[in-house]
Amino acid sequence: MTLENVLLVSAIIFAIGLYGVLAKRNALVVLMSIELMFNAVNIAAVAFSRYTVPARLLDTPVALTSDAVRSVLTGQTFAVFIIAVAAAEVTLGLALALAVYRRRESVEVTDLTTARG
Protein backbone atom coordinates (compact mmCIF):
# COMPACT_ATOMS: atom_id res chain seq x y z
CA MET A 1 0.00 0.00 0.00
CA THR A 2 1.85 3.03 -1.30
CA LEU A 3 0.87 6.54 -2.34
CA GLU A 4 0.99 5.53 -6.00
CA ASN A 5 -1.42 2.64 -5.48
CA VAL A 6 -3.94 4.82 -3.65
CA LEU A 7 -3.67 7.47 -6.37
CA LEU A 8 -4.27 4.73 -8.96
CA VAL A 9 -7.53 3.75 -7.24
CA SER A 10 -8.50 7.41 -6.92
CA ALA A 11 -7.80 8.06 -10.62
CA ILE A 12 -9.88 5.06 -11.71
CA ILE A 13 -12.89 6.11 -9.60
CA PHE A 14 -12.59 9.70 -10.85
CA ALA A 15 -12.48 8.49 -14.46
CA ILE A 16 -15.58 6.33 -13.91
CA GLY A 17 -17.35 9.41 -12.53
CA LEU A 18 -16.25 11.47 -15.51
CA TYR A 19 -17.60 8.82 -17.89
CA GLY A 20 -20.93 8.86 -16.06
CA VAL A 21 -21.20 12.64 -16.27
CA LEU A 22 -20.38 12.71 -19.98
CA ALA A 23 -22.29 9.67 -21.22
CA LYS A 24 -25.39 9.38 -19.06
CA ARG A 25 -28.72 10.93 -19.85
CA ASN A 26 -30.50 10.69 -16.51
CA ALA A 27 -29.83 13.77 -14.34
CA LEU A 28 -29.91 11.65 -11.18
CA VAL A 29 -27.18 9.35 -12.49
CA VAL A 30 -25.14 12.39 -13.52
CA LEU A 31 -25.43 13.65 -9.92
CA MET A 32 -24.33 10.23 -8.61
CA SER A 33 -21.30 10.33 -10.94
CA ILE A 34 -20.38 13.78 -9.62
CA GLU A 35 -20.50 12.34 -6.09
CA LEU A 36 -18.14 9.55 -7.22
CA MET A 37 -15.70 12.19 -8.49
CA PHE A 38 -15.88 14.07 -5.16
CA ASN A 39 -15.11 10.77 -3.43
CA ALA A 40 -12.07 10.12 -5.62
CA VAL A 41 -10.72 13.58 -4.80
CA ASN A 42 -11.23 12.91 -1.09
CA ILE A 43 -9.28 9.66 -1.35
CA ALA A 44 -6.40 11.49 -3.05
CA ALA A 45 -6.39 14.30 -0.45
CA VAL A 46 -6.29 11.84 2.45
CA ALA A 47 -3.58 9.77 0.72
CA PHE A 48 -1.39 12.85 0.25
CA SER A 49 -1.96 13.73 3.89
CA ARG A 50 -0.86 10.25 4.93
CA TYR A 51 2.17 9.78 2.68
CA THR A 52 3.82 13.11 1.87
CA VAL A 53 5.66 15.73 3.90
CA PRO A 54 4.24 19.28 3.80
CA ALA A 55 6.69 21.77 2.30
CA ARG A 56 6.32 23.85 5.45
CA LEU A 57 8.01 21.10 7.45
CA LEU A 58 10.95 20.80 5.06
CA ASP A 59 11.58 24.54 4.64
CA THR A 60 11.24 25.89 8.16
CA PRO A 61 11.29 23.45 11.05
CA VAL A 62 8.40 24.18 13.40
CA ALA A 63 9.00 24.25 17.11
CA LEU A 64 5.95 22.46 18.39
CA THR A 65 5.00 18.90 17.56
CA SER A 66 1.36 19.95 17.58
CA ASP A 67 1.99 22.46 14.77
CA ALA A 68 3.87 19.86 12.73
CA VAL A 69 1.11 17.32 13.22
CA ARG A 70 -1.52 19.84 12.17
CA SER A 71 0.34 20.76 9.01
CA VAL A 72 0.44 17.06 8.12
CA LEU A 73 -3.32 16.86 8.69
CA THR A 74 -4.11 19.62 6.18
CA GLY A 75 -5.23 17.04 3.62
CA GLN A 76 -7.81 15.59 5.97
CA THR A 77 -9.13 19.09 6.71
CA PHE A 78 -9.50 19.59 2.98
CA ALA A 79 -11.48 16.37 2.69
CA VAL A 80 -13.92 17.50 5.40
CA PHE A 81 -14.58 20.74 3.51
CA ILE A 82 -15.06 18.84 0.25
CA ILE A 83 -17.59 16.57 1.96
CA ALA A 84 -19.52 19.61 3.22
CA VAL A 85 -19.55 21.26 -0.21
CA ALA A 86 -20.57 17.98 -1.87
CA ALA A 87 -23.46 17.60 0.57
CA ALA A 88 -24.69 21.12 -0.23
CA GLU A 89 -24.29 20.45 -3.96
CA VAL A 90 -26.19 17.17 -3.99
CA THR A 91 -29.04 18.69 -1.96
CA LEU A 92 -29.50 21.49 -4.47
CA GLY A 93 -29.05 19.17 -7.44
CA LEU A 94 -31.72 16.76 -6.24
CA ALA A 95 -34.12 19.62 -5.45
CA LEU A 96 -33.55 20.95 -8.98
CA ALA A 97 -34.15 17.51 -10.49
CA LEU A 98 -37.41 17.21 -8.54
CA ALA A 99 -38.56 20.68 -9.64
CA VAL A 100 -37.76 19.85 -13.27
CA TYR A 101 -39.57 16.51 -13.00
CA ARG A 102 -42.71 18.24 -11.70
CA ARG A 103 -42.85 20.51 -14.74
CA ARG A 104 -41.73 18.16 -17.50
CA GLU A 105 -42.31 14.60 -16.24
CA SER A 106 -38.69 13.81 -17.15
CA VAL A 107 -35.24 14.05 -15.58
CA GLU A 108 -33.25 13.46 -18.77
CA VAL A 109 -30.65 16.10 -19.49
CA THR A 110 -31.41 15.91 -23.23
CA ASP A 111 -34.90 17.31 -22.54
CA LEU A 112 -33.50 20.36 -20.76
CA THR A 113 -32.68 22.54 -23.72
CA THR A 114 -34.10 25.80 -22.44
CA ALA A 115 -33.64 27.68 -19.18
CA ARG A 116 -37.21 28.99 -19.23
CA GLY A 117 -39.66 27.54 -16.73
Binding site: V6, A11, N39, R50, L58, T91, E108
Partner: protein, 214 residues
Amino acid sequence: MSIEGSAVVDVAFWIVAVMAIAAALLVVTVRDVFKAAAFLAAAFLATAGLFVLLRAEFLAVVQVLIYVGAVSILIIFTVMLVRNVPGGNRTGGPFYVFAGAAAAVLLALGIVYAAFKTDWTDLDQAAAGDDRVAAALTGQYQAEAAPGDGGIELIGGPAADQETARQGVFRRTANNLGTLFIRDYVLAFEVISVVLLAALIGALALARERGAET
Protein backbone atom coordinates in the same frame (compact mmCIF):
# COMPACT_ATOMS: atom_id res chain seq x y z
CA MET B 1 3.04 -2.11 18.11
CA SER B 2 1.12 -1.64 14.92
CA ILE B 3 0.26 -3.84 12.01
CA GLU B 4 1.03 -1.08 9.54
CA GLY B 5 3.35 -2.12 6.75
CA SER B 6 2.43 -5.77 7.08
CA ALA B 7 0.83 -7.85 4.37
CA VAL B 8 -2.51 -7.69 6.18
CA VAL B 9 -2.86 -4.00 5.37
CA ASP B 10 -1.94 -4.60 1.72
CA VAL B 11 -4.53 -7.36 1.33
CA ALA B 12 -7.18 -5.25 3.07
CA PHE B 13 -6.33 -2.29 0.85
CA TRP B 14 -6.72 -4.23 -2.39
CA ILE B 15 -9.97 -5.84 -1.22
CA VAL B 16 -11.47 -2.44 -0.33
CA ALA B 17 -10.07 -0.82 -3.48
CA VAL B 18 -11.56 -3.49 -5.77
CA MET B 19 -14.89 -3.18 -3.95
CA ALA B 20 -14.90 0.59 -4.44
CA ILE B 21 -13.99 0.39 -8.12
CA ALA B 22 -16.48 -2.40 -8.85
CA ALA B 23 -19.29 -0.53 -7.09
CA ALA B 24 -18.41 2.67 -8.96
CA LEU B 25 -18.43 0.80 -12.29
CA LEU B 26 -21.83 -0.70 -11.50
CA VAL B 27 -23.23 2.78 -10.75
CA VAL B 28 -22.64 3.80 -14.37
CA THR B 29 -23.50 0.45 -15.98
CA VAL B 30 -26.64 -1.03 -14.36
CA ARG B 31 -29.91 -0.24 -16.10
CA ASP B 32 -32.01 0.35 -12.98
CA VAL B 33 -31.48 3.82 -11.47
CA PHE B 34 -32.50 2.54 -8.03
CA LYS B 35 -29.81 -0.16 -8.17
CA ALA B 36 -27.29 2.48 -9.26
CA ALA B 37 -28.12 4.48 -6.14
CA ALA B 38 -27.67 1.38 -3.97
CA PHE B 39 -24.28 0.65 -5.55
CA LEU B 40 -23.32 4.27 -4.93
CA ALA B 41 -23.89 3.66 -1.21
CA ALA B 42 -21.64 0.58 -1.48
CA ALA B 43 -18.91 2.66 -3.14
CA PHE B 44 -19.17 5.22 -0.31
CA LEU B 45 -18.82 2.44 2.29
CA ALA B 46 -15.73 1.02 0.57
CA THR B 47 -14.26 4.54 0.53
CA ALA B 48 -14.79 4.71 4.30
CA GLY B 49 -12.71 1.52 4.54
CA LEU B 50 -9.96 3.17 2.49
CA PHE B 51 -10.00 6.12 4.90
CA VAL B 52 -9.48 3.80 7.87
CA LEU B 53 -6.47 2.23 6.13
CA LEU B 54 -5.10 5.73 5.43
CA ARG B 55 -5.20 6.59 9.14
CA ALA B 56 -8.15 8.97 8.80
CA GLU B 57 -10.53 7.41 11.31
CA PHE B 58 -12.48 10.63 11.89
CA LEU B 59 -13.05 11.03 8.15
CA ALA B 60 -14.20 7.42 7.90
CA VAL B 61 -16.88 8.09 10.51
CA VAL B 62 -17.87 11.33 8.76
CA GLN B 63 -18.03 9.45 5.45
CA VAL B 64 -20.39 6.82 6.87
CA LEU B 65 -22.57 9.40 8.63
CA ILE B 66 -22.86 11.94 5.81
CA TYR B 67 -22.41 9.99 2.58
CA VAL B 68 -23.85 6.58 3.45
CA GLY B 69 -26.33 7.91 6.00
CA ALA B 70 -27.53 11.13 4.40
CA VAL B 71 -26.51 11.61 0.75
CA SER B 72 -27.30 8.05 -0.39
CA ILE B 73 -30.65 8.10 1.40
CA LEU B 74 -31.48 11.48 -0.16
CA ILE B 75 -30.64 10.16 -3.65
CA ILE B 76 -32.67 6.98 -3.10
CA PHE B 77 -35.66 9.03 -1.92
CA THR B 78 -35.44 11.23 -5.01
CA VAL B 79 -35.23 8.18 -7.27
CA MET B 80 -38.40 6.87 -5.65
CA LEU B 81 -40.16 10.25 -5.97
CA VAL B 82 -39.28 10.47 -9.65
CA ARG B 83 -41.53 7.55 -10.59
CA ASN B 84 -41.11 5.37 -13.65
CA VAL B 85 -38.07 7.17 -15.00
CA PRO B 86 -38.46 6.80 -18.78
CA GLY B 87 -35.70 4.66 -20.23
CA GLY B 88 -34.02 4.09 -16.86
CA ASN B 89 -30.28 4.56 -16.70
CA ARG B 90 -29.84 5.35 -20.42
CA THR B 91 -26.80 6.78 -22.13
CA GLY B 92 -26.90 9.69 -24.52
CA GLY B 93 -26.12 7.47 -27.51
CA PRO B 94 -23.06 5.79 -29.03
CA PHE B 95 -21.24 9.07 -29.62
CA TYR B 96 -21.52 10.14 -25.99
CA VAL B 97 -20.49 6.68 -24.75
CA PHE B 98 -17.42 6.72 -26.97
CA ALA B 99 -16.47 10.31 -26.16
CA GLY B 100 -17.05 9.81 -22.44
CA ALA B 101 -15.06 6.57 -22.33
CA ALA B 102 -12.21 8.10 -24.33
CA ALA B 103 -12.06 11.18 -22.07
CA ALA B 104 -12.19 9.01 -18.95
CA VAL B 105 -9.42 6.64 -20.12
CA LEU B 106 -7.19 9.51 -21.23
CA LEU B 107 -7.66 11.34 -17.93
CA ALA B 108 -6.99 8.20 -15.88
CA LEU B 109 -3.83 7.44 -17.87
CA GLY B 110 -2.62 11.01 -17.40
CA ILE B 111 -3.19 10.99 -13.64
CA VAL B 112 -1.59 7.57 -13.19
CA TYR B 113 1.42 8.59 -15.30
CA ALA B 114 1.88 11.74 -13.19
CA ALA B 115 1.42 9.81 -9.95
CA PHE B 116 4.07 7.21 -10.78
CA LYS B 117 6.45 9.64 -12.46
CA THR B 118 6.60 12.24 -9.70
CA ASP B 119 9.19 11.87 -6.96
CA TRP B 120 7.09 12.40 -3.84
CA THR B 121 8.78 13.34 -0.57
CA ASP B 122 7.79 10.30 1.43
CA LEU B 123 6.58 11.00 4.96
CA ASP B 124 7.90 7.77 6.46
CA GLN B 125 11.33 8.05 4.87
CA ALA B 126 11.63 11.74 5.75
CA ALA B 127 10.68 10.99 9.33
CA ALA B 128 13.42 8.35 9.49
CA GLY B 129 16.08 10.27 7.58
CA ASP B 130 15.55 14.00 8.00
CA ASP B 131 16.40 15.18 11.52
CA ARG B 132 14.27 18.31 11.34
CA VAL B 133 11.19 16.44 10.18
CA ALA B 134 11.78 13.75 12.76
CA ALA B 135 12.24 16.35 15.50
CA ALA B 136 9.02 18.04 14.48
CA LEU B 137 6.97 14.88 14.17
CA THR B 138 8.23 12.70 16.98
CA GLY B 139 8.59 13.26 20.70
CA GLN B 140 6.31 12.62 23.57
CA TYR B 141 3.03 14.36 23.99
CA GLN B 142 2.11 16.32 27.02
CA ALA B 143 -1.43 15.57 28.03
CA GLU B 144 -2.16 18.99 29.49
CA ALA B 145 -2.64 22.01 27.25
CA ALA B 146 0.40 24.29 27.20
CA PRO B 147 -0.42 27.88 28.18
CA GLY B 148 -0.32 30.26 25.24
CA ASP B 149 -0.56 27.47 22.70
CA GLY B 150 -3.73 25.76 23.71
CA GLY B 151 -2.51 22.53 22.17
CA ILE B 152 -0.07 19.76 22.91
CA GLU B 153 3.59 20.44 23.37
CA LEU B 154 6.79 18.59 22.60
CA ILE B 155 8.56 17.73 25.82
CA GLY B 156 10.68 14.66 25.05
CA GLY B 157 13.70 14.39 22.80
CA PRO B 158 13.10 13.28 19.23
CA ALA B 159 13.20 9.58 18.58
CA ALA B 160 14.03 9.38 14.90
CA ASP B 161 12.36 6.20 13.82
CA GLN B 162 9.47 5.70 11.45
CA GLU B 163 7.16 3.94 13.85
CA THR B 164 7.21 6.71 16.47
CA ALA B 165 6.80 9.41 13.85
CA ARG B 166 3.83 7.65 12.25
CA GLN B 167 2.08 7.07 15.53
CA GLY B 168 2.83 10.59 16.70
CA VAL B 169 1.31 12.15 13.59
CA PHE B 170 -1.79 10.03 13.29
CA ARG B 171 -2.66 9.80 16.95
CA ARG B 172 -5.65 11.79 18.21
CA THR B 173 -6.56 12.82 14.68
CA ALA B 174 -9.99 14.10 15.67
CA ASN B 175 -8.53 16.39 18.36
CA ASN B 176 -6.02 17.91 15.97
CA LEU B 177 -8.62 18.31 13.22
CA GLY B 178 -10.88 20.13 15.66
CA THR B 179 -8.07 22.48 16.63
CA LEU B 180 -7.34 23.12 12.94
CA PHE B 181 -10.98 24.00 12.27
CA ILE B 182 -11.35 26.57 15.03
CA ARG B 183 -7.90 28.10 14.63
CA ASP B 184 -6.18 27.85 11.23
CA TYR B 185 -9.29 27.42 9.08
CA VAL B 186 -11.86 29.28 11.15
CA LEU B 187 -12.91 31.57 8.28
CA ALA B 188 -13.46 28.65 5.88
CA PHE B 189 -15.31 26.85 8.67
CA GLU B 190 -17.73 29.74 9.15
CA VAL B 191 -18.19 30.22 5.41
CA ILE B 192 -19.03 26.55 4.91
CA SER B 193 -21.70 26.85 7.62
CA VAL B 194 -23.34 29.69 5.69
CA VAL B 195 -23.04 27.69 2.44
CA LEU B 196 -24.83 24.74 4.04
CA LEU B 197 -27.58 27.02 5.37
CA ALA B 198 -28.00 28.63 1.94
CA ALA B 199 -28.16 25.18 0.29
CA LEU B 200 -30.80 24.08 2.82
CA ILE B 201 -33.01 27.11 2.18
CA GLY B 202 -32.42 26.92 -1.58
CA ALA B 203 -33.37 23.24 -1.69
CA LEU B 204 -36.57 23.94 0.26
CA ALA B 205 -37.48 26.80 -2.09
CA LEU B 206 -36.75 24.73 -5.22
CA ALA B 207 -38.55 21.56 -4.17
CA ARG B 208 -41.69 23.26 -2.85
CA GLU B 209 -44.89 22.39 -4.63
CA ARG B 210 -46.00 25.29 -6.75
CA GLY B 211 -49.61 25.12 -5.65
CA ALA B 212 -48.71 25.04 -1.96
CA GLU B 213 -47.93 28.74 -1.79
CA THR B 214 -50.16 30.63 0.59
